[in-house]
């Protein structure tokens, strides 16, 4: 496998009217990797994905997808990309089989009938092939949409919040499938709001209000945040969150069950901040979670955007 990146974009920018929705985003994903794309609502994830698959023209920036120039080779790129939209994008008034058949025709797949049948078989939908896609439950819609996005065996798969509103069992299966596809060499860029899903990715990218704030493996992102954390155990530890969060040197404090999780940028200041409660609550050093990092990053970013106005 060549070691040229599957996706490589630099300085990608998109404006809607006066608002810069995606601001100089750099992103590199190597072949066969699963990259999680995270960020608060409205931070520009969907917009970035659309630019990568050629559905939006960037206002600035450049990049290559599978070595093809993003600005000149949009059509060639579309042939090799599978894109699963945030909103269910198949035809709800066509049956499951008819939807797959349509996709197969559009991509001019050979052995169309067999492929559709295989896909239905794999999905476990053979018996319901004639059911209208619009009548499927959320989880099944997601499965169908994924099947439609990978039927033409794309080299890159872009998934926009593929598991929103899907039950844990179905999510687990979904992710197993994505890992299986990646193992075959497919590159996956998947946006999500779930931390557990972020942890299933090889690497993550965090965008807030259009700005890419962190990239790398989970370890790298956590280390890069410079946060340290403490875990507090003791009577009513969980009730102290609001109070402790007001203290200087504390970025955030959150109850976890009966214990308390606090974190801040400076370990010494953090220790000092919890000192008043140290007599009854036992604080031990802990690993900051990905969630800590993201919330911390997001708060920083919100401040910036407010200042900017």
């Amino acid at each position: 496998m060549s070691k040229a990146p599957a996706i490589s974009v630099r300085g990608l920018t998109k404006r809607f009217g006066p608002r810069t929705v995606v601001d100089h985003v750099d992103l590199t994903v190597m072949p066969g990797r699963i990259c999680g794309f995270l960020g608060p609502n409205g931070s520009g994830k969907t917009t970035t994905l659309r630019m990568i698959c050629g559905l939006l023209i960037p206002d600035a920036g450049e990049g290559e997808v599978l070595g093809l120039d993003l600005s000149t080779k949009r059509r060639a790129i579309k042939h090799q990309i599978g894109y699963m939209t945030q909103k269910f994008g198949l035809f709800s008034d066509l049956s499951i089989a008819e939807n797959l058949e349509f996709i197969a025709r559009v991509y001019r797949l050979d052995r169309r009938k067999e492929r559709v049948a295989e896909t239905l078989e794999k999905l476990g939908l053979t018996s319901r092939a004639d059911q209208l896609a619009g009548k499927l439950s959320g989880g099944w819609k997601q499965r169908l949409a994924l099947a439609a996005a990978v039927m033409h065996e794309p080299k890159i798969l872009l998934l926009d919040e593929p598991t929103a509103g899907v039950d844990p069992q179905a999510r687990r299966e979904f992710w197993d499938q994505i890992h299986a596809l990646a193992a075959e060499g497919m590159t996956v860029l998947v946006s999500t709001h779930y931390m557990d899903e972020a942890e299933r990715c090889h690497e993550i990218a965090y965008i807030a209000y259009g700005v890419m704030l962190a990239r790398g493996t989970i370890g790298e992102v956590i280390a890069g945040s410079g946060l340290s954390a403490l875990q507090g155990e003791g009577p009513s530890a969980d009730r102290l969150a609001a109070e402790i969060e007001q203290r200087p040197g504390v970025a955030m404090a959150a109850p976890f069950g009966t214990s308390l999780h606090v974190c801040g940028p400076d370990p010494v200041a953090l220790r000092a901040a919890v000192e008043p409660w140290a007599d009854r609550i036992n604080f031990t050093p802990a690993e900051p979670s990905l969630e800590d990092v993201f919330i911390h990053l997001m708060r920083g970013a919100t401040d910036n955007s407010v200042e900017a106005r």
Partner: protein, 373 residues
């Protein structure tokens, strides 16, 4: 390319077939329209308000009036002796017809001078004029047949003893019932082609399926053609339904060439489809595209010559009408169906439609993007 277009067509047809409202639109809409207007086409109205201005007060005029009464066609008002009264009633819409019997009617009839009877018709409702004239003629003939006896019996031979002059007010073109069919073709095609295509495109955007379509290798023009073809066929079915009904059920004359009619219909359909697509690139939702289509349909119905005669409209309205494709199409269909127009005659109006097609097609293709925003 062709396979992708094929995929689009296939999908569209399936969706159409699954959507009962499309089927309804395809068959019932033209039929319902035809039946509604067909009543106008074939109508045989009764109780038409007729004012009789009998200025001679002779036995002849009295018997003409009573014969008119017995036809059952008219509700008769008599205004004897006051000139201009009949015209005023027509102007006010209180009467639809006025029969004026001149002062010297009886005298001239007896002398065999073929006196005139003036029948004034409010032709804004042209459909009822024909039957009414026939009824008046019949009633007069009957009355006179009864009265011209004895020494006057000789008047019954030779040319009719009187001369019924028809004067149409307010509708110089004298549009007859048969003119409804060309207009109906234009309106039905406009409604389905413009409204349905623009809605079918915006529906994809609204439901989020457009994003999916555009993420595939489908080109915008392929999406367009894929959508146009099925609607085009739908339009063809509608034309056949309307023409079939018009000719078979309502016995509308068809003197021209069917091939030529289909050719200009094809042209008009394409113009309408291009317009529908252009609308879809300008609006954001199905509701908006419905509104935009209505905005186009209303003037099309009112100004194209379907509802009101073109020559009766003010100049500004005529200019506006010139800009509307149905105006030209209606002229073409009337020309071909009723007057038997041949090739050279259809060229000027067809040329205007071709021009519109080029302009709209260019706008649609240029505005239809392969991106989502």
């Amino acid at each position: 390319m062709w396979e992708r277009i094929g995929a689009m067509i296939f999908k569209e047809v399936r969706q159409m077939a699954r959507d009962p409202s499309t089927i309804a639109m395809m068959f019932f809409f033209p039929i319902i329209q035809l039946v509604i207007f067909g009543y106008a086409i074939n109508n045989d109205p009764r109780h038409l308000p007729l004012v009789v201005e009998a200025n001679d007060n002779s036995a002849f005029s009295r018997s003409i009036v009573s014969a008119l009464r017995t036809t059952g066609y008219f509700d008769i008002t008599e205004v004897a002796g006051s000139y201009g009264e009949a015209d005023r009633l027509i102007a006010e819409g209180k009467a639809q017809f006025a029969l004026t019997i001149p002062t010297d009617f009886a005298r001239r009839l007896v002398r065999g001078e073929r006196p005139q009877l003036l029948l004034t018709a409010d032709a804004t409702d042209p459909a009822s004029t024909g039957p009414a004239v026939a009824a008046v003629n019949e009633a007069v003939a009957e009355a006179l047949a009864r009265d011209l006896i004895g020494p006057l019996a000789g008047r019954q031979q030779g040319p009719p003893p009187i001369d019924l002059v028809l004067h149409r007010s307010y509708n110089p073109e004298g549009i007859t019932s048969h003119n409804t069919v060309p207009g109906l073709l234009a309106i039905i095609l406009s409604m389905t082609m413009v409204a349905l295509t623009s809605m079918s495109v915006t529906r994809e955007t609204e439901q989020g399926t457009m994003e999916n379509l555009l993420a595939t290798p489908l080109r915008p023009v392929e999406v367009m053609v894929g959508k146009i073809v099925p609607y085009f066929l739908l339009g063809f079915v509608q034309v056949c339904v309307v023409l079939g009904f018009a000719i078979v059920v309502f016995e509308v004359p068809f003197v021209g060439s069917l091939g030529l009619l289909l050719a200009v219909t094809l042209l008009f359909t394409l113009v309408s489809l291009a317009l529908g697509f252009t609308i879809s690139t300008l609006v954001e939702s199905q509701v908006q595209s419905m509104m935009a289509s209505m905005l186009y349909l209303m003037p099309s119905i009112l100004l194209s010559g379907f509802a009101f005669p073109y020559r009766g409209m003010p100049v500004w309205a005529q200019w506006l009408a010139e800009l509307l494709p149905p105006t030209h199409y209606i002229r073409l269909v009337r020309g071909i169906m009723l007057k038997g127009w041949e090739w050279p005659l259809v060229l000027p109006e067809s040329g205007k439609l071709v021009l519109m097609l080029l302009v709209l097609g260019t706008i649609a293709v240029r505005r239809y993007r392969d991106t989502v925003a």
